[in-house]
C-alpha cells in the first residue's frame, strides 16, 4: 500500500488533472502553503469575530442583571476548573495524536485521538450537568440578562465542541482502520486546528465569564427595584 503513496512523480509527468489535484491537495501553490490549511486558518479568523461578538455582548451586559440569580450565587468555579483542565488536556492529546500519526505509530495515534474524543465528551457532559443544575437553581436564558448571555455563549461554544467530538470520532475510526496515515495526516492537522481553536475560545470564556465575573452580585440600586 505504501509503495504508491510516498513519492510524487516528477513534475513534467503530471496530467492536467493531477496538476489541479496537486494545486489543491499538495503544497504546490503560489504561497507554498496548503490550500485546505489556509482555508481553515482563514475560517478561524472568521470565527474569532463570531465568538468575539458574543464575548463582547457578554461583557457589555456584565453586571446589568436586574434580578437574580447573579453570577456570585450560581457559578461553581472548582467544578468548571476541572472541566477547563479536561479541555486543555484534550488539546494535549490532540497534538500527541497528530505526532504519532505523522510518525506512523498507528496504535498510539488511535489511542490519543480516542483520548480527544473522550475528554471532549467529558467536557460536554460537565456542561450538560452544569446547565441542568443552573436551571434547577433558577437560572434560565429567559430569567435575566446574565442567563441570556451565559447560556447562548457557552451553548454555542458547546455546539462547537460537539461538532469537534464527532469529527474526531470519525478520524479516530479512520486511524484505527488505517485510512488516516502519515501521508494524509493533514486531515487530522486541520481538524486539530479547529479543536485547538475551540480550546482557546474556552480559555477566554473561562477567564471572562467564570473567574472575572464569579464575584458579581446585584448591580447597585437593584434592591430598590425589588424593595
Amino acid at each position: 500500500m505504501a509503495t504508491n503513496v510516498t513519492q510524487a512523480p516528477p513534475a513534467e509527468k503530471y496530467t492536467p488533472t493531477e496538476q489541479h489535484a496537486r494545486i489543491v491537495d499538495f503544497e504546490d501553490t503560489s504561497t507554498g502553503l496548503n490550500s485546505r490549511k489556509l482555508l481553515m486558518w482563514t475560517f478561524l479568523g472568521s470565527d474569532v469575530m463570531f465568538f468575539g461578538a458574543f464575548i463582547a455582548t457578554y461583557l457589555v451586559y456584565r453586571g446589568r442583571s436586574l434580578n437574580g440569580p447573579y453570577p456570585s450565587e450560581i457559578l461553581n468555579i472548582p467544578v468548571t476548573s476541572v472541566s477547563t483542565f479536561v479541555l486543555l488536556m484534550s488539546s494535549l492529546a490532540m497534538v500527541l495524536g497528530l505526532y504519532y500519526v505523522r510518525e506512523g505509530e498507528k496504535n498510539k495515534a488511535t489511542l490519543w485521538i480516542l483520548g480527544v474524543v473522550l475528554l471532549g465528551g467529558v467536557f460536554i457532559a460537565f456542561q450538560v450537568v452544569e446547565f441542568r443544575i443552573f436551571v434547577i437553581e433558577g437560572l434560565t436564558p429567559k430569567v435575566n440578562i446574565f442567563g441570556t448571555t451565559f447560556f447562548i455563549l457557552t451553548g454555542i461554544h458547546g455546539a462547537h465542541v460537539t461538532i469537534g467530538v464527532i469529527w474526531m470520532a470519525f478520524l479516530a475510526h479512520g486511524s484505527h482502520t488505517g485510512r488516516l496515515r502519515a501521508d494524509n495526516a493533514l486531515d487530522l492537522e486541520i481538524a486539530g486546528l479547529y479543536w485547538h481553536f475551540v480550546d482557546i475560545v474556552w480559555i477566554v470564556i473561562f477567564t471572562v465569564i467564570y473567574l472575572i465575573s464569579a464575584n458579581d452580585g446585584p448591580p447597585p440600586g437593584a434592591e430598590l427595584l425589588h424593595g
Binding site: 500500500m1 504508491n4 503513496v5 513534475a11 513534467e12 503530471y14 496530467t15 492536467p16 488533472t17 496538476q19 489541479h20 489535484a21 494545486i23 489543491v24 491537495d25 504546490d28 501553490t29 503560489s30 504561497t31 507554498g32 502553503l33 490550500s35 489556509l38 482555508l39 482563514t42 475560517f43 479568523g45 472568521s46 470565527d47 469575530m49 463570531f50 461578538a53 458574543f54 455582548t57 457589555v60 451586559y61 446589568r64 442583571s65 436586574l66 436564558p141 429567559k142 430569567v143 435575566n144 440578562i145 446574565f146 442567563g147 441570556t148 448571555t149 447560556f151 447562548i152 454555542i156 479512520g174 488505517g178 485510512r179 496515515r181 501521508d183 494524509n184
Partner: protein, 649 residues
C-alpha cells in the same frame, strides 16, 4: 490522494450532463456558478426595483392611499434588504466567480464544490427572506432591524424571524464564498504573478472577501441574538430583562459599516479595470489604489458609531467617530484622483462601459461628499432619518455600486457570452439610468434638509414636498425604463449575435487572452506572468520601457538583513516549463480535466434550508432535515474531487 477510497453509497450517479438543467444543478464550474449568481441576483434586482417603484407611486402625492402603512413598511424593508444582500452582493459575487480565476490565470477556484454550496445556500436563503410575501407577513422592521421594533413584542408574526434566519443563511453563503476567494487569490495565482501584479479588480475582491469573512460573523451573531429573543424569549434586547436595544445598533453597525465597503469595493475594482482599458493607459498609481483599498478595509471597522450619532453616546465618542469618519474619506479621495488621473491625456473611447464608469466617479463623489457632511454630529442631528440620508446612500449605492456593476456588465459581456451588447441601446440605457437616477435622488437632498422623514408612508399636504416628490417619482420611472432597455439589450444581443473576438476592447488583463466565451478549462496553457497588465505588455512590448522600465519591480531589501530569505512575493522563483505550461498540442483541449460535477452541494444546502424552516416552525422539521444534511455532508467528504474512472491516462 491514493488512500484506500472510502465510499459513501450513492443514491444517484455522479452528474455528467453537459447541458440542460442537470448540468446547472451539478455544476462546479466557476463560470456557470457566476452565471447562476448573476441571473438570480438580476431577478431579485427587478423585484426590489418594483418595490421601489411602488413606494415612489405612494409618495408621489401627499396623503396618498396607494399602499397602506403596513405594506409600506414591508416594501421599504424588503427593498433595502433585497438590494443589499440579494442584489449588489451577489452581483459582485457573479463577477468574482467569473473573473477571478480568469484574471489570475487559474482553471477554477480553489474549492469548486464549496463555491457551488455558496450559491445554493444563497438561493435558499434569499427565498426564505422573501417567503413572507407568500405567507402574508413580509419582514417590516427595516433592513437594519432596529430593536425593540424588531422584537416579538412590537413586531409579532413571522416576518422578522424570516428575515433573521434568511440573513443567517446568506451569511453562511457569503462566508463560504469569501473564504474560497481568499484562498483562490492567495494560492492559485499563475506562475510569476506576485501580489503586486494582480489586476486591481482581483485586489478589491481579496479585500472585499476579507471584509466579508470578518464582518458576516457579526451579522450572524446579531441574527442569532434576534432569533433567540424572538423565538425563545431571551433578553438580549429586552430592557425589562437587563438588555439594551442600543446594543443591537452597535452589533448591527459593527457589521453594517464594513458591509458598506463590501458593497462599494467590487465596483471600485470594476471601474479600475474599465478606465485604463478605454483610456489606453495603465491605471495611475496602482500601489496607491491598492493601499487605499487596504486602508479603507482597515479603517472601515472603526467608524460604525457614525450611524448612531443621535443615540446619545456622549461628546467624546461622537468626536472620535467624527474624526475617523472624516479620515476614511481620504483613501476614497485618493482613489477618485487616481481614476481621474488615469483618464488624463488618455486616448479615451466613450462607449457604454466607459460612460457608466465615468458617471460612477461623478455620482460616487457626490455621495461621498454628502457623507462627509453628516460625519459632523451637529449636521447629522439635523439630517438623521431624513431623506437627505436616503439621497446620500442612494448616490453611493446606485450611483456608485450599481453604475459600476453595469459598467462591468457592458465591459465583460462579450467575454461572458461571446456576443457584443448593442452600443446604441447601451447609450440609451446609460442616459436613461443616469438622468433618471439624478432626477430621482437629487431632489431628495432638498426635501431631506427640509425635514421630510424616512420610512413614513405619507406626508401632509401643506408641507410643500409634493412637487419635489412627484419629480423624484418620475425620475424613478425613467430609471426603471433604463433598466427595461438594458433587458431589451440583452435580448437583442442574443438575437443579433454579433460575435466578439477574444480581446474586443484591447484589454489589459489575462481574461482577454482566452477565447470569448472561455472554454470550460479557461486557459489552454496556463500563462506565465512577468508584468502587471501582463497581457497588454505582451501585446505591445514596445510600451514596456515607457511605462514599466523605471525600476518599478526593483526589489528593495533592507540592508544587512534577509538577503537570503526568499518568501518575499516579488522574488518567488518563476516556475517555468513543464510544471504549469501544458501546451494544447500535447494533451488536447478535451483531455484537460476539471473537478467533476457533484450534486452534494445542493443537497447540503437543502439540508441547511430545512434547518432554517425548522427554526421557523417546529423542531420536528429540524430532525427531519438532519438526514438530508448528513447525507450531503458525508457524501461530500467521501467523494473524490475527480472520480478515478474519469481520469485521463
Amino acid at each position: 490522494m491514493t488512500t484506500k477510497a472510502l465510499t459513501f453509497p450513492r443514491l444517484f450517479p455522479r452528474p455528467k450532463a453537459e447541458w440542460g438543467i442537470w448540468s446547472w444543478i451539478g455544476t462546479v464550474d466557476h463560470k456557470r456558478i457566476g452565471t447562476l449568481y448573476g441571473i438570480t441576483a438580476f431577478i431579485w434586482f427587478l423585484i426590489a426595483g418594483i418595490e421601489a417603484l411602488l413606494m415612489r407611486i405612494q409618495l408621489s402625492s401627499a396623503e396618498n392611499t396607494f399602499v397602506g402603512p403596513e405594506t409600506y413598511n414591508q416594501l421599504f424593508t424588503m427593498h433595502g434588504t433585497t438590494m443589499v444582500f440579494l442584489v449588489i452582493m451577489p452581483l459582485s459575487a457573479a463577477f468574482f466567480n467569473w473573473l477571478i480565476p480568469l484574471q489570475i490565470g487559474a482553471r477554477d477556484v480553489a474549492f469548486p464544490r464549496l463555491n457551488a454550496l455558496s450559491f445554493w445556500i444563497f438561493l435558499i436563503g434569499s427565498l426564505l427572506i422573501n417567503a413572507g410575501w407568500v405567507t402574508g407577513d413580509a419582514p417590516n422592521g427595516g433592513w437594519f432591524g432596529y430593536a425593540p421594533n424588531s422584537g416579538i413584542d412590537y413586531n409579532p408574526g413571522l416576518g422578522m424571524t424570516y428575515w433573521a434566519i434568511g440573513l443567517n443563511l446568506l451569511g453562511v453563503a457569503s462566508i463560504a464564498a469569501g473564504l474560497n476567494f481568499i484562498v483562490t487569490i492567495l494560492n492559485m495565482r499563475a506562475p510569476g504573478m506576485s501580489m503586486f501584479k494582480l489586476p486591481v479588480f482581483t485586489w478589491m475582491t481579496l479585500i472585499t472577501s476579507i471584509l466579508i469573512v470578518l464582518a458576516m460573523p457579526i451579522l450572524a451573531v446579531a441574527g442569532i441574538q434576534l432569533q433567540t429573543d424572538r423565538l425563545y424569549g431571551t433578553n438580549f434586547f429586552n430592557p425589562l430583562g437587563g438588555g439594551d436595544p442600543v446594543m443591537w445598533q452597535h452589533i448591527f453597525w459593527l457589521f453594517g459599516h464594513p458591509e458598506v465597503y463590501i458593497l462599494i469595493l467590487p465596483a471600485m475594482g470594476i471601474v479600475s479595470e474599465v478606465l485604463p482599458t478605454f483610456s489606453r493607459k495603465p491605471l495611475f498609481g496602482y500601489p496607491f489604489v491598492v493601499f487605499a483599498g487596504i486602508v479603507i478595509a482597515f479603517m472601515g471597522w472603526f467608524v460604525w458609531s457614525h450611524h448612531m450619532f443621535t443615540v446619545g453616546l456622549g461628546p467624546a465618542a461622537n468626536s472620535a467617530f467624527t474624526i475617523s469618519t472624516m479620515l476614511i474619506g481620504v483613501p476614497t479621495g485618493i482613489k477618485i484622483f487616481n481614476w481621474i488621473a488615469t483618464m488624463w491625456r488618455g486616448n479615451i473611447r466613450l462607449n457604454t462601459a466607459m460612460l457608466f464608469s465615468i458617471s460612477f466617479i461623478a455620482m460616487f463623489t457626490i455621495g461621498g461628499l454628502s457623507g462627509i457632511m453628516h460625519a459632523a454630529p451637529t449636521a447629522d442631528a439635523q439630517q438623521q432619518d431624513t431623506y437627505f440620508i436616503v439621497a446620500h446612500f442612494h448616490y453611493v449605492l446606485v450611483g456608485g455600486s450599481l453604475l459600476g456593476i453595469f459598467s462591468g456588465i457592458y465591459y465583460w459581456w462579450p467575454k461572458f457570452t461571446g456576443w457584443y451588447l448593442n452600443e446604441k441601446l447601451g447609450i440609451a440605457n446609460w442616459a436613461l439610468m443616469f438622468i433618471g437616477f439624478n432626477i430621482q435622488f437629487a431632489p431628495l437632498h432638498w426635501v431631506g434638509l427640509d425635514g421630510m422623514p424616512r420610512r413614513i408612508y405619507t406626508y401632509a399636504e401643506n408641507m410643500g414636498w409634493e412637487g419635489t416628490n412627484l419629480l423624484a417619482s418620475i425620475g424613478g420611472f425613467i430609471l426603471g425604463l433604463g433598466v427595461l432597455i438594458f433587458m431589451i439589450n440583452l435580448v437583442v444581443s442574443r438575437i443579433q449575435k454579433r460575435v466578439a473576438p477574444a480581446d474586443p476592447w484591447d484589454g489589459r488583463t489575462l481574461e482577454w487572452s482566452t477565447s470569448s466565451p472561455p472554454p470550460p478549462h479557461d486557459f489552454d496553457e496556463i500563462p506565465q506572468v512577468e508584468y502587471r497588465d501582463d497581457f497588454w505588455f505582451k501585446k505591445y512590448p514596445e510600451t514596456i520601457a515607457e511605462y514599466y522600465g523605471h525600476g518599478e519591480h526593483d526589489q528593495t531589501v533592507p540592508s544587512g538583513a534577509q538577503v537570503d530569505d526568499d518568501t518575499d512575493e516579488e522574488s518567488m522563483p518563476v516556475v517555468s516549463g513543464g510544471a504549469y505550461g501544458h501546451d494544447a498540442g500535447e494533451h488536447g483541449h478535451d483531455k484537460i480535466h476539471l473537478p467533476d460535477m457533484s450534486y452534494y452541494p445542493i443537497i447540503l444546502a437543502i439540508g441547511l434550508g430545512i434547518f432554517g424552516i425548522g427554526f421557523l416552525t417546529h423542531w420536528g422539521v429540524i430532525i427531519a432535515g438532519a438526514p438530508v444534511f448528513i447525507w450531503g455532508l458525508f457524501g461530500w467528504s467521501m467523494e473524490p474531487v475527480n472520480d478515478p474512472e474519469t481520469k485521463t491516462s
